[in-house]
Amino acid sequence: MMKRNLWLLLGVIVLAVGPLMFHSETAKFGGSDDQASALISNIKPGYQRWVQPVWTPPSSEIESLIFALQAALGAGLLGYYFGRKRGLIEAKDAPEIRASH
C-alpha cells in the first residue's frame, strides 16, 4: 500500500512540476480567479464591484501567511488523526505497551 501511495504522490509531483518546467520562459502562473475578473472587465468594461471584501490582507506576504495557516490547520489535524489511529492499532497489537503507561 505504501509503495502504491509513493507512486501516486510521484504523479502529483510530476503534474505540479511539469507545467513549471514546460512554461518556464513565458508563463506567469497568475491565478485563474484573476484571469476571470480580467475577462469580466473585458465583457463589461468599467464594471465595479458593488461590495468590498470585509477585510483584505494588506500584502501578498500576509495573504500567504493566512493560506499557510489554513493548510497547516488542515495538515495538523490530518497528521493527528493518522498518528492516533496508528498508535491505537499498535497498542491493541501489543497490550504490554498500553499496560506500562
Binding site: G11, L15, L20, F22, S37, L39, I43, Q52, W55, F82
Partner: protein, 223 residues
Amino acid sequence: MHIMEGYLPATHCLAWGAASAPFVIAGGLRVKKVVREHPEVKLLLAASGAFVFVLSALKLPSVTGSSSHPTGTGLAASLFGPTITSVLSAIVLLFQALLLAHGGLTTLGANIFSMGIVGPFVAYGLYRGLPAVGFSIPLAIFAAATFGDLSTYVVTSLQLALAFPDPVGGVIGAAVKFLGIFAITQVPLAISEGLLTVIVWNLLAKYSREELTSLGAFQGRAV
C-alpha cells in the same frame, strides 16, 4: 473558483443563496444524525474537513501557465455524503471570504453551490455508481474526486456567464470564455486531487477499517 465579493448582481446572490441554504441546513442535520448514530466517526469527519482545508489552500501551477486550487471535497462527499460536504465547504468558504478576500459574503451562496453542492453530488454519484457497475473502489474514489473538482469549476464558469453574458455571444459565448479559463486550467489539478484523495483513501482503508465499515464505505466489498 471563488467568485469575488461584489461580482454578482444582488438578484443572483439571493438566488444562489436561496438555492444553497436548504443543502447546508440538511447537511447540518445530517452531521448531528451521523455523529449520534456513529460517534466513532467524529474524528474522521474532522479529518475529512481538514482535507478540504489543506487542498483548497494549495494553489498549484497548471499546463495553461496559470494556477488554481483543488477543492478537496471528493473525500468527504464519498465518506459522508454530499450535504455534509456542503457544510464543510461553507466553513472553508467563510474562512476564505473573511480572512483572505477570496470569494465573499455576497457570493457565498454561489460559491457553496459550486464547491459544496454540485461537486460533492457529482463525486458521491460516481463513488456509489462506479462500484455498482463493477469498477474498483480506489478507481471510484479517483473519479469522484477528479470529476467533483472539475464540475465545481464548470459551475463557476456558468454562474459567471449568467451574470456577464458576452455582448456578441450571449450567455453561451461567455460560458465558453469562462470555461476556457477555469475548466482547462483545472484538468491537471483535478487529476492531482484524484490522486491525493486515493492516497488518503488507502491510508484510511488501512488504519480506519472500523469507521469506514460503519459508514458503509466499502460498499459490501472485501477491500
